[in-house]
């Protein structure tokens, strides 16, 4: 599947985008601070979309910032085996999981009632005006966390199953199964 697709012109097995990322990383390592800005500009919005598609509703900026901070501190460990963006998704996903665990602990401690959570959701939902989009959003919220991640990366970011497998920490085949199960679930919800 991934062999059949092309994300821009590929040079030496890398796309132009990947090549550009590596150049920017090298520039930043050599002391060019502006390269960091360009790196952030290239990937910040995709990271934010992934956060939203994974169900993150608040402090998306902070999550994206944390992802970049962690990535930049670990840049020496980035070997370029996967694309830089996929590597960023991997980091962001770990942060998301940490955040959810912390949130769960906090909820367990404060024992927030189900009604309170529903109220908060309703307030946020009012932002989404379009009814169709609201339906799509509701459909995605019914997916399992892994299905949401895979579906978001596939539909929202156009990642291949191989890239999704790297980001989510699963196999290519499992990523494909998650995607098709998610698509089926979304269709079923919309057909109800």
């Amino acid at each position: 599947m991934s062999d059949a697709t092309s994300a821009g012109t590929r040079v030496g097995g890398r796309s132009d985008d990947d090549q550009r990322d590596l150049e920017l990383i090298a520039r930043w390592k050599s002391g060019d601070e502006r390269a960091a800005t360009e790196i952030v500009e290239r990937h910040a919005q995709a990271l934010a979309r992934f956060a939203v598609s994974s169900g993150e509703r608040s402090e998306v900026d902070e999550l994206v910032q944390d992802t970049f901070v962690r990535a930049f501190h670990s840049l020496d460990g980035f070997r370029g085996d996967s694309s830089f963006r996929t590597w960023l998704f991997t980091i962001e996903r770990r942060l998301l999981l940490d955040r959810r665990r912390a949130e769960k602990r906090r909820r367990d401690r404060t024992e927030i009632q189900e009604d309170d959570a529903a109220t908060a959701y309703d307030a946020l939902d009012s932002v989404v005006a379009d009814e169709t989009q609201q339906r799509l959003r509701d459909a995605m919220e019914r997916l399992s966390p892994t299905q949401r991640e895979v579906f978001g990366l596939r539909v929202g970011e156009g990642l291949s199953y191989k890239e999704i497998a790297e980001a989510v920490g699963t196999t290519e085949g499992a990523a494909r199964v998650h995607y098709h199960n998610a698509m089926r679930a979304v269709k079923e919800f919309l057909n109800e």
Partner: protein
């Protein structure tokens, strides 16, 4: 909404959406979508999801993100990933040296003062002076400055504090400077900031408290120095 039986084509719809197909494959998938109602509906669904995600995603403040990133020049300059630590370590070493200097000066001067105040025999006083080969202790300050390029304000502060010490007690200053020279810490004092010099003076001042509260007349037969019993303003 039903599924197209052509799983391979369905699989490629997200790639068509994100324009990740090469020309030949894109043409094939596009042709299939044109003829397949299910795939057309699914492609519209995918576009709707993509649009929804884009719309719901807040615009990231790039400046905010970049502001928290580590500085490349500090992280990777000269191939030293831990370069940021080095200045802190130097600063810590400097502080340790300053602390040692304060303790050494304070402790030694206290010990010497105790000796000079406890025994008022002139012979013992001469012993104190003999340990300092410099006849005029105040001259140590310019010598220190010349040996170590200190910023002008700091030099002025050092000179001022030295003069201040002289006003407070000539004898004490002589003993303190003697101790400094003997331990070789005069250079470190010259490097101190005004704030640290003040702290040092306060330390020395507090050590003077015992002899001052016990105004015992002491006569020092040392050339060029006044007796500690003389009033300071004379």
């Amino acid at each position: 909404m039903s599924d197209c039986p052509n799983a391979e084509m369905r699989d490629l719809l997200p790639d068509l959406l994100h324009e990740r197909l090469d020309a030949s494959l894109r043409a094939a998938v596009t042709a299939h979508v044109g003829a397949c109602e299910d795939c057309r509906a699914e492609l519209m669904l995918l576009e709707g999801v993509q649009r929804m995600l884009t719309k719901q995603t807040p615009r990231v403040d790039v400046t905010y993100v970049v502001g928290a990133l580590p500085l490349a020049s500090r992280k990777h300059a000269a191939g030293q990933p831990a370069a940021r630590v080095a200045p802190q370590r130097r600063w810590a070493d400097w502080r340790v040296a300053a602390a040692v200097a304060v303790l050494a000066v304070g402790g030694t001067s206290a010990a010497l003062m105790e000796r000079s105040n406890a025994i008022v025999i002139p012979g013992d006083t001469v012993q104190v002076v003999r340990s300092n080969p410099t006849p005029e202790p105040v001259q140590a300050t310019p010598a220190t400055v010349a040996g170590n390029p200190t910023p002008a304000p700091e030099r002025a502060a050092a000179a001022q504090s030295t003069a201040h010490t002289r006003i407070r007690s000539t004898d004490t200053e002589q003993v303190a400077t003697t101790a400094n020279d003997g331990l070789g810490v005069g250079r470190s004092i010259g490097d101190m900031s005004q704030k640290q010099l003040r702290a040092l003076l306060d330390d020395i001042g507090s050590m003077q408290a015992v002899p001052i509260t016990e105004p015992e007349p002491v006569s020092l037969k040392v050339e060029g120095t006044r007796s500690s019993s003389e009033p300071e303003d004379l």
